[in-house]
Symmetry: C2
Subunit: 329 residues, 2 copies
DNA sequence: AAAATAAATGTAACCCGTTACAGAATATAA
DNA sequence: TTATATTCTGTAACGGGTTACATTTATTTT
């Protein structure tokens, strides 16, 4: 910058004014400075700016694990928005580990990160208090005074279950995720509200299996062996649904004829399976986009309204439930 | 920091010495400073350090699109190493777009990023010249004087094709990716070297379809209709292989009985399909790890050897090729 | 005990921008 | 013409660390 100033025969202050378009600068001087910048290929040092301003134009996204097929799309959405606003995007895999989250929070704040988008079921209010910049809770709602973006998990759970009924399923099991996650608990509640008072419901129709395909497969296999009457499975995410389909396949149970399977998420793996997976699709990309936009707004306005936005889910009907519909009840 | 210095009744220089463990500090003074730090919950401002040192402890990974199932695992590996060294990880989706790559390069260098790991087929030497920090080329090799990590794509292409022959396939087609990518071209070369001189090979057994599932499906469908004699397909990545399987399914062609399919990558989607997908697996996580380790080393040592590491691929035999083996030839 | 060496600490410049403030030059108003 | 407002530009402090160098104090050596 000194070089540019010297070259254009002005002070650094003037160069700064030209770069930022702030303050009055004589058009001729401006031109001279711009030429100097051009000539010297000058690029301002963003670190110095950050130091002065206390803002880095960086935001971070916390996800449990990018290898879970739900998150790449989310991350992509966030990055796209981030880019649009000329911010830089930092991806953090937390594995749902408090220690890791804590380390990230410290490190990133020392780097003057301007905001966080957090997918977490473990994070505590105490930890959040350590964060002095805007935060958006995404996908999972952890109780606190935060803006958050989720889907209507309860409604999704209901609809998925009712949908299975509507295509004729008489005995519907549910594979649910870890208890710590608010989203899976809501889906479970939706399921329960539909099946609780039926004459067929058994608590052994309920399996808890951590969003993991292999585990879902093993547990489903056992359940199907003990309960061959089951003719519908609602899994709380797509990965578990795929596990369930594999279990059925291995047992020679046909999908969708003998057993209908519906997942949750609408992640793209559901298209890779045969039959393709029917699922309660979340508008993943839109949610990521909205979270990022909301964060940008909070960063810009310095205001942090406790907006809670709930996106609708929609039924993505594919092959794993393709039967002739039967009259309700 | 001034506060800490005041509180401990020393100068900022001494505080800095304590923090960095450099220079001689009286044990008592050190203790006093440490207590002050503790008491005031002092955390050094990383931006100021970065400004002084010219190093940010951040590295960036360029990938075409994190939504492609090959990349999450790679990104995860890089992030894990990044973390281990207390660096911060920046993920950049380039869409193979030169403009985007260029923008990222500028922005990140202004932020004093310490190194790049780049997956790209488009990037030019001219662009690389703009980068003044270590770079590792990953997955795809773009000609330049760079350290790079790839797999033996040629060998993989050969082996995949020969494997199909070994299980009895008589007419083997190949779905290859975009011409711009060095890796897919090598796989093609491997395939060609096996089939070129056979008496059955036809140029129409070769399909070019951009790593895209839907396109692969459509093109395969057409090919299988025109060439029902095809009994083996080698796809240059898993996503296309899945497209091919779907095409077969839709045409009522059984896999693996009538048609064997092998993919390339060993990404986790291959486990979600039915039948599960046989594939030439790359050690994705290891490659990411190695690339990151190599980058860390170059950052630390300031030396940039033009190491070229080629990882082996290995056959991951799953169901899409499960037949009784037949004697070679 | 004087001299030499080592340890402990502080002062101030530096990293590279931004901006408050002041001063000079020019334009407009009285 | 003088007073006042405007435009333009520079000086210097600041953000929050690091470190070369100087200085003081303690320890060893002779």
């Amino acid at each position: 910058m000194r070089d540019v100033a010297k070259f254009a025969d002005v002070s650094v202050a003037t160069v700064s004014r030209v770069i930022n378009g702030k303050g009055d600068v004589n058009p001729e001087t401006r031109k001279r400075v711009e030429q100097a910048i051009e000539y010297l290929h000058y690029k301002p040092n963003d670190v110095a700016r950050t130091l002065f301003r206390g803002k880095s134009k960086m935001i971070a996204l916390f996800v449990p694990d990018i290898m879970n097929p739900f998150f790449p799309e989310l991350a992509r959405a966030v990055e796209d928005v981030t880019n649009k606003y000329n911010y830089t995007f930092i991806l953090c895999n937390t594995d749902g580990d408090l220690e890791k989250e804590l380390t990230y929070i410290d490190t990133l704040q020392q780097k003057a990160v301007d905001g966080f988008i957090i997918v977490s079921s473990t994070i505590t209010d105490e930890m959040l208090k350590k964060i002095s910049v805007p935060i958006i809770a995404l996908d999972r709602f952890f109780h606190s005074e935060l803006a958050s973006i989720t889907v209507d998990n309860y409604q999704g759970g209901r609809e998925a279950t009712e949908y299975l009924q509507s295509i004729g399923c008489q005995r519907i099991a549910h594979l649910c995720g870890p208890e710590s996650a608010s989203n899976t608990m809501e889906r479970l509640r939706g399921y329960m509200d539909v099946v609780r008072d039926t004459d067929w419901f058994l608590s052994s129709y309920l399996l808890s299996c951590n969003y993991n395909m292999e585990q879902a497969k093993v547990m489903t296999m056992e359940m199907l062996r003990n309960h061959p009457e089951i003719d519908g499975i609602f899994a709380a995410n797509d990965v578990m649904a795929i596990g369930a389909m594999k279990a059925a396949e291995q047992l020679g149970i046909r999908i969708p004829e003998d057993l209908a399977v519906i997942g949750f998420d609408g992640s793209s793996v559901g298209e890779a399976t045969s039959p393709t997976l029917t699922t309660m699709a979340q508008p993943i990309y839109d949610m990521g986009t909205r979270a990022a936009e909301m964060l940008m707004e909070q960063i810009q306005t310095q205001v942090a309204p406790k907006t809670i936005e709930t996106f609708p889910v929609h039924l993505l009907e594919r092959e794993s439930t393709k039967r002739k519909k039967v009259a309700h009840g």
